[in-house]
Symmetry: D4
Subunit: 254 residues, 8 copies
Amino acid sequence: MRELLEAVAEGEVTVSEAESMLSGYATTEAGRFDAARETRRGVPEAILCDGKTPDEVATLATIAVETAGRALITRASDEQIQAVRARLAEEHPDANVRVRERADVLVAHAVGFDRPELDVTVGIVSAGTSDAIPAGEAAVVAEEMGATVEELHDVGVASLVRVLDEVDALRAADVLVVAAGREGALPTVVAGLVDTPVIGLPVSNGYGHAGQGSAALSGMLQSCTVLSTVNIDAGFVAGAQAGLIARAVDAARE
Amino acid sequence: MRELLEAVAEGEVTVSEAESMLSGYATTEAGRFDAARETRRGVPEAILCDGKTPDEVATLATIAVETAGRALITRASDEQIQAVRARLAEEHPDANVRVRERADVLVAHAVGFDRPELDVTVGIVSAGTSDAIPAGEAAVVAEEMGATVEELHDVGVASLVRVLDEVDALRAADVLVVAAGREGALPTVVAGLVDTPVIGLPVSNGYGHAGQGSAALSGMLQSCTVLSTVNIDAGFVAGAQAGLIARAVDAARE
Amino acid sequence: MRELLEAVAEGEVTVSEAESMLSGYATTEAGRFDAARETRRGVPEAILCDGKTPDEVATLATIAVETAGRALITRASDEQIQAVRARLAEEHPDANVRVRERADVLVAHAVGFDRPELDVTVGIVSAGTSDAIPAGEAAVVAEEMGATVEELHDVGVASLVRVLDEVDALRAADVLVVAAGREGALPTVVAGLVDTPVIGLPVSNGYGHAGQGSAALSGMLQSCTVLSTVNIDAGFVAGAQAGLIARAVDAARE
Amino acid sequence: MRELLEAVAEGEVTVSEAESMLSGYATTEAGRFDAARETRRGVPEAILCDGKTPDEVATLATIAVETAGRALITRASDEQIQAVRARLAEEHPDANVRVRERADVLVAHAVGFDRPELDVTVGIVSAGTSDAIPAGEAAVVAEEMGATVEELHDVGVASLVRVLDEVDALRAADVLVVAAGREGALPTVVAGLVDTPVIGLPVSNGYGHAGQGSAALSGMLQSCTVLSTVNIDAGFVAGAQAGLIARAVDAARE
Amino acid sequence: MRELLEAVAEGEVTVSEAESMLSGYATTEAGRFDAARETRRGVPEAILCDGKTPDEVATLATIAVETAGRALITRASDEQIQAVRARLAEEHPDANVRVRERADVLVAHAVGFDRPELDVTVGIVSAGTSDAIPAGEAAVVAEEMGATVEELHDVGVASLVRVLDEVDALRAADVLVVAAGREGALPTVVAGLVDTPVIGLPVSNGYGHAGQGSAALSGMLQSCTVLSTVNIDAGFVAGAQAGLIARAVDAARE
Amino acid sequence: MRELLEAVAEGEVTVSEAESMLSGYATTEAGRFDAARETRRGVPEAILCDGKTPDEVATLATIAVETAGRALITRASDEQIQAVRARLAEEHPDANVRVRERADVLVAHAVGFDRPELDVTVGIVSAGTSDAIPAGEAAVVAEEMGATVEELHDVGVASLVRVLDEVDALRAADVLVVAAGREGALPTVVAGLVDTPVIGLPVSNGYGHAGQGSAALSGMLQSCTVLSTVNIDAGFVAGAQAGLIARAVDAARE
Amino acid sequence: MRELLEAVAEGEVTVSEAESMLSGYATTEAGRFDAARETRRGVPEAILCDGKTPDEVATLATIAVETAGRALITRASDEQIQAVRARLAEEHPDANVRVRERADVLVAHAVGFDRPELDVTVGIVSAGTSDAIPAGEAAVVAEEMGATVEELHDVGVASLVRVLDEVDALRAADVLVVAAGREGALPTVVAGLVDTPVIGLPVSNGYGHAGQGSAALSGMLQSCTVLSTVNIDAGFVAGAQAGLIARAVDAARE
Amino acid sequence: MRELLEAVAEGEVTVSEAESMLSGYATTEAGRFDAARETRRGVPEAILCDGKTPDEVATLATIAVETAGRALITRASDEQIQAVRARLAEEHPDANVRVRERADVLVAHAVGFDRPELDVTVGIVSAGTSDAIPAGEAAVVAEEMGATVEELHDVGVASLVRVLDEVDALRAADVLVVAAGREGALPTVVAGLVDTPVIGLPVSNGYGHAGQGSAALSGMLQSCTVLSTVNIDAGFVAGAQAGLIARAVDAARE
């Protein structure tokens, strides 16, 4: 760091450059956090709806559209989605609003917003409807980061044939997010069939001992194959990690 | 119960019959607990070596051979096995002694002991050497209860082909004990391929979060297929439960 | 597997046969998962109502009746039961619908559906009303798999006489499911009185430390007798495992 | 308290009386803690050997004999017991030293020490050798508090007959300490047969999930009968609580 | 047991006597469980309201009044209490009904019901209003078992003076139930001041780590004094155990 | 799958191709598992020394060198390392053997073994010596998979300057493994500074509540940035996941 | 203590003085607990609203205003706040009532109440809105104890620049309370930048494994810097501990 | 930060000043971490012996004496202490070496080292010998930070008189560290008697449920008084936090 400061003192580096090197982004009068995160990490800032009023969510969505050109809203109730739609209809009637309902996710793009495009495929694999929310979150964020997303649902470990039937599709993806609840064995089985990075996404279903995703998380951490994992229901994180890998792959393609 | 006691009072039922109906076995002067358990449950009484001196184990083994005709010793160290061998060589030189070393199990039969014979196959499935102790315990107890035991080792979920290669053998068994450590997914995968009862046997390997068999137990209890489970490393219990099922099947065959 | 593939290549095995050997069932245009599971495992596919709308449950019930000839619905609220009844009354007015209310279970049979018949008795034992839901689930699934079900309720370990009074009935069953909450000692006590397989079914009652079935599960896994266990409240799994044992016994009878 | 202080100020209560009323014991120049505890609570002060050198234990034992007339030493290794024996042989050759070896307990009485005598029976019930240490601790402390101790070992819940055979003995005791490891069901079964207070004493055996006494403690806290409980292996506490009840009963007898 | 059965066979013992010796109570045509429990254990059967409809509670209360002469209802909501009052007013208008509202307990006595009277004092100690429900349960059951109950509330460990001010009252009781939530230190402090049995009753308040009574239970089990403990919020059990001790003391008084 | 089998039947696909498509590798007479895993996943098979004798480790190492051309041995004690060195010196004197001592890792290459080369940099970041074993495992496996490994040690979150001083190095890597024990905050801080994938590697140090890596794992799963995680001390898994990402990036470069 | 009692007996110390020395406060007819706590500890007594009716809270608030001159009400719902406002408006219309809404805290001062003034700054640091309730509680109690409170919000560890931008403000405080949820790394990072006492305040947000503040608490207890910690969401305790430190510093200033 | 960088660019702030403002300390060629930590935080860097060889500890001690003028070594075995003594005797024969044996702590001062002096008293309170290690660590670090340390041992909550006898001493300290194992009630009782900051220090003794300090930590976090806490056995942290408070108080005194 001393060297950097000496370079600033000597005028070899501008203040903005120094700030950018130290922090990962330059702040300006008009600068906003949401935009900065995306610049810095390549990950769109999400608005997590838990514990917020519909009105608060709508306000945050508007700010996001205005400053970052995009709002990505997760774990949204029907009421919260309605509030965002209404507010945007009023203030940004031209914005493109898309809702993935079973996943409780809403994405809004300002007019002229340019989503990145990556020449990389992210596979999102799940066993069925009970995994829909986190798997859907993962799909949306990977898509918003520019990846081509291929989704494979109804792939359960209790019936191996369904897994084997999808081997080609599994191998076609550059990186996979595999969601699973209950005993969480699917990411282990899938990782044994491919030679690409697999990210396990434990899902909070199952009751009794080790229910609510706890057995699934434990099983993924103890997997006898090579996997990395995110927290229970952390679909956003899994999709964003897949997106970061996709960005690295895409950058190498160029 | 009142009816039974009235029957005793009226001489319709003898004292021994009443006792037997109430307790499952009749005690006599020569009666011993070890023999009684086998009579009552069909499960040989095992001598668990944990926390016993070699001398204590040798004494218990001798008593078991004398009263039940058989000693079944589990979790035995080399030193404990030597003590039993030495003691039996001295006091019961004709007894048949068999050690399954990787499983830390010793079985001794008195001369003339007649092991039951069941026309039933119990399959014991495991992923490899780290499952050897509980899987071996399960195999020995099922065998001692009279079942034909088929063992399938090196069947790991990370490499599905090895599982699929054994489908015929898995389906040939009347009941299966499937041992697994780490994430414990093997019983779930196997149960999806057969139409016979599967007993999950979690094994205490794996380190870190949910290590020492905890993830495996959790995964088996959360399995999306139909399984019943025993405690971590409880190979004796898994094998004995398989043996009880085998007895029920065999009885129906006759 | 190589051998199988070679046999296919040489025409010794048809494609359908190969598929069936690899996967446990053959898929056809009309094939359905629900039917397949029953074919493969002998266990009827259940529709678990948790987290589904009454409308979704009614749709799934209709599909099950149409494809598998039978719908088995568990953990159903009154509202969900009404929705199924109404839908079936409309679309399959001749279907036979039976509700076991305290167990929150509904079973519907299409006209002409032939339930299997096994010459085997499954005993379902519980301590009382708080065990009614999982014990009832277990009873219904064992019955649907074809077993004769004998239920023994109000058998509590705090009053041994009630247990002893039922010894004859306990011994008459070929396999037992024993439900218990709180300290979960009943399966241990029962297993000490019979020589048939006992499946422990922990029930989620009890408050404070180790409440909600946790002490019961722990006690069954630590039992000093021979037991296998299922997860807390997993009545369906316990009954289905008993049903699989019953099928094995029945097959041997023939 | 104000009243007490006013009484002291007015000379109605002496300083010693006030101190005794506030604290439960009067300190004098020669006063010692060990003696005070017994005076105050009626419970002999025990010397817990965990983490102490043989030399430290021997020194504490000597002080206890000198000040309280008695030393009660728990969880003593062979080496620690030898050190105490040697030290007492040297410094207090007339002291009466008694060792209960399987319980790792040593008691020494100074010449002329008068153990209290209560006209009350404390029953100590256990399943067998693995419960020997805490059950033995409980027996010794209850005895040292003056109770008549009746011990009933080899009473296991897996074989109800053994419990029923002891019903008379169980009912003859004024208060019972019931030790149990594994699933810990014995105190519940016993408490269903008697109308006297039962104290559950969980024992640290059992492996795997909820092992080391955890399932036993959970089961006793969740018991469907009336029990109070102490911590795992806390034989001293269980015996001392039984002793306090015995003292209350004995006092009423007079 | 054999001896008993032989005595029955020889007519030396009647059937009823034998049954009573085996089970603790004699069943007759008119016999009921509720009455039996009280006969056998001296503990009134309680009706725990959790998970029951107001109508079910009212029915059980009526049966209890009719068979045992008394109903003891715990954890009752206002609605459940109203239902019981209404039903009893209709069917047993002369019954004496008493509600302890902050404790959610209702007791009803049939006309002519004779509560036992013991010449023993049970002290119930608590820190304040958050302990009211379990402390109240304990007080009511001890009272119903015949003890004189002295209640000491607002005795918190954070202000030692309040504890010391009550030393005389604490020492006047023959046995103490001490309720405490949060860190649960009060039973330890009280037990250091008296020489009578103390039963710790952990209460489910407190939030965050080890909240909901968990720290209180842990602290009581780890107490450096002599205590026995019941589960979190198990006021009924604590009071009944105190009642059993009171019965033992009272019996000795006679 | 049906299509594949039909293609086999029609001769469009050879048996070997079909097998390879189904399983990920072709088995031959000389085929070995170790080699297959690397082919299939690109991850070298590691020999984990826990619970193996020095002799067993040496035998496995020899087999690995012979079949896969390379042995990768983790968690090796000094004695185990000596045994491997001695055995290889005897049987494969030309093999290249390298030991990373603080990491307890040994790698042996057969003569002529060609390690893959990837044009990708994996950064391995740690706070210091207590993280040496898992961080070293991660470094070795990434290197063996062909990545250029840059290691940054002594980067602790308690002194932000040390982190900031390394920003350039952190940003230069294509993917980062960040090891941390205690509170595990370093991966979160690092991930806030880069736009590449970060894999958190919790390390088992720290004592008391949430010690032995538990707080670190929890913190990484709860991270407010985008991270994926592996189990505590799972350096091999973290490094191999980084290696899989590196392979994907490298493939895109070509 | 003996000395004190002797002094009372000899008239050297008055009864009130003795009482005050023993207990920390003197009780009079008009004495109240709330007032006493503040006198004794310097910490205002708070009324925690959890589980109280609006009416009960209003009554307690009125008593507090009347006896201590101040009411401090925490975790208040809107309804509870309205009830207090209404009651005070009626009974103490001149009282000064202040509500900190996002923190669910209400403070009322009686006319003429004199809040202490300390020449000390307490810094309250948080990451944002999800920490508002406990951080706000801490701020209010520190303020009520007389400290100058400086609040720094939106300081998150995922973006180091925001932390570094506040270094001057962080260093200006005499003592800091740092609130954090999720992985809880902020107190560690802040403590690495200042040389004053830091109190960590874990906040109950975050879902999945170690959610609801558990990871944050674990991380603060495992911190590699010097911190002390309070329970999850215990904003009142954190603020009061900061206030006690502020009092000690202020006292030294004089 | 931007302002700071602009000031550097404009020459208003020197590079060293800027660095110091950003990081808390200036690095020079001769700079060392140990020295820096003390400068920055006022807390001496400790060398924790866990998992280090005697030789490694001796080397680190020498470096500490040379760069910081002082070595503070914690959790040292006899062997490690001997190694440090021997090394320092050889390389720094004039250094002043002090060992606190029951606390496993060693402190060495270089010739001419000037320990800070604060006009503040830190009280260290414990119940007895089992708390000696963490209490001793706390005492030594507070002393090394310059505080006057008063130690009060044998103060146990089971005997309130011993606590009350020390009230004057407790109140004389400016800040208190209170160590306690088992149920951990002592800090709560002490905090109720003083008006100064109390830091709870849980100690890892106690066996069974919530043993090894877990109940003590839980109790301190749940305390009904105002306390802050450190991790189990974290004597160094508790003493250092007390030292930071002492520094703040001392600074105000000047």
